[in-house]
Symmetry: C2
Subunit: 236 residues, 2 copies
DNA sequence: CGTATCATTGACCGGGCTCAAACGCCGTGG
DNA sequence: CCACGGCGTTTGAGCCCGGTCAATGATACG
């Protein structure tokens, strides 16, 4: 019933695609990928490290290689809204011009592949198909944002949690991870700031779901039991 | 204190850029624009008309020419989240592949320029700079989405209203509209569904703001008085 | 003039927030 | 090795913002 942060389980090497800078640009040829690698560098971060800050000039693009990175927007330094959790293969700030509109920080240990904006622009300039990839990527990012806006504006606490957990499970599963006891590396505060709730409400709602037999809370993990039934009315 | 829908004020021709299909592609040459025009068509809509529906196959791109178009996502047909209000010059579903992720409906009379997806893709395929425009456009759309997520998750009702009104004013002002008595063509329900509130809360909060002297409620319009002072702590 | 829809206001309630305390885990230093 | 303190989690008590239900007024429309 208590917490025993098993962060290492998340920094574990992943067997598949995302180990390269462009799990996203998987449509690129091997030669392109190799050259792209040389233009950027792998940067390791430890828990809570900040990759970039809202308002700062945007000089690089980022791609998560290992771990989880939280993307968030703050105001007055007290209120925070985590807009997404980036996983290996996800790209950050690929089209940001000028200044960062959001901040990013590592949730636990992480490795990020970083490339200066000009170098990437130059690389893409004579590879028109790369732009198409980027457009497709941004389109799915926008679709995700719409989903989250609906959740934030129109779902109750319990439904927010269930949808969040099932989506999180689906994303990890798509990366080939073991999700039976679903790893939940982010803190209760992170979850709260992502769903527009408070820490207390997150704890209470999770406890309620556990009492009802919908989930089982383990240290650093959550086992999803009959969320399908509970979430049925909650799915699109 | 009551409502006298002055929708016509919003269908009024606008003097500047957005009268063309691509207020967005304003960087295009005149020749390009003229050809683009011939590939699409101007379609008039009346209030509440649906442009496209979430889940339907996406066959066209849209660009608002006159009026306001609400973009929304629904679930179970009762809950609705309006993710944005599109104004003249705004592009809709430009990069959507497959099916629409959202629906769109006219808020009052509107004129929309529509082009089949294949035709636009063909037009853009040998004009690489068009893709760059699209990427920039989507980047600002994503930044807007982050703003809205913050509002939905971390702002109280009063702050949501104030921020919404000031942003709306700024957008209209950028289009060269008269915003002193700020036109508010959307219904209270639309505003509620955009801010994650109920109709009653929107009414009550607006009334409270009026009582406090921050705004003045007129039929179809709202005059912003000292929102600067009230909104000061609410701005980023 | 009757009807439907929207806006507004009131009464009431409840979900989620606030404040507070207890607990477990971990790192630190004696 | 253990005591201590800090941090994150959990749980309780109480309250308030905002939702629900309901009634009234106002407006557009047929």
């Amino acid at each position: 019933m208590t917490k025993l942060m098993a962060a290492s389980s998340f920094a574990a090497p992943c067997a598949n695609a995302a180990a390269q800078p462009g799990g996203f640009l998987s449509h690129l040829g091997a030669a392109d990928l190799r050259q792209l690698m040389t233009l950027g560098e792998r940067v390791p971060y430890t828990s809570q490290d900040v990759l970039f800050t809202q308002g700062a000039p945007a000089g690089k693009c980022f791609s998560v290689v290992e771990g989880v990175v939280g993307i968030y927007r703050t105001e007055c330094d007290n209120r925070r809204q985590i807009t997404s959790f980036a996983l290996p293969g996800d790209i950050l700030e690929i089209a940001t011009q000028g200044h960062h509109e959001v901040s990013a920080a590592a949730i636990g240990p992480a490795v990020v592949w970083e490339i200066p904006r000009e170098k990437f622009a130059q690389f893409a300039s004579h590879r028109p198909y790369v732009l198409n990839e980027i457009v497709a990527l941004m389109a799915t990012e926008i679709a995700d944002a719409h989903d989250k806006m609906f959740s934030l504006g129109r779902r109750a606490a319990e439904e927010k949690l269930i949808v969040f957990l099932t989506h999180w499970r689906d994303r990890l599963a798509r990366l080939g991870r073991d999700v039976d006891p679903l790893p939940v590396p982010m803190s209760r505060r992170d979850i709260a700031d992502h769903l527009g709730l408070t820490v207390e409400t997150v704890c209470r709602t999770l406890a309620k779901l556990e009492r009802r037999g919908a989930i089982e809370i383990l240290p650093g993990r959550i086992r999803l039991l009959d969320t399908e039934a509970v979430a049925a009315p909650a799915l699109a």
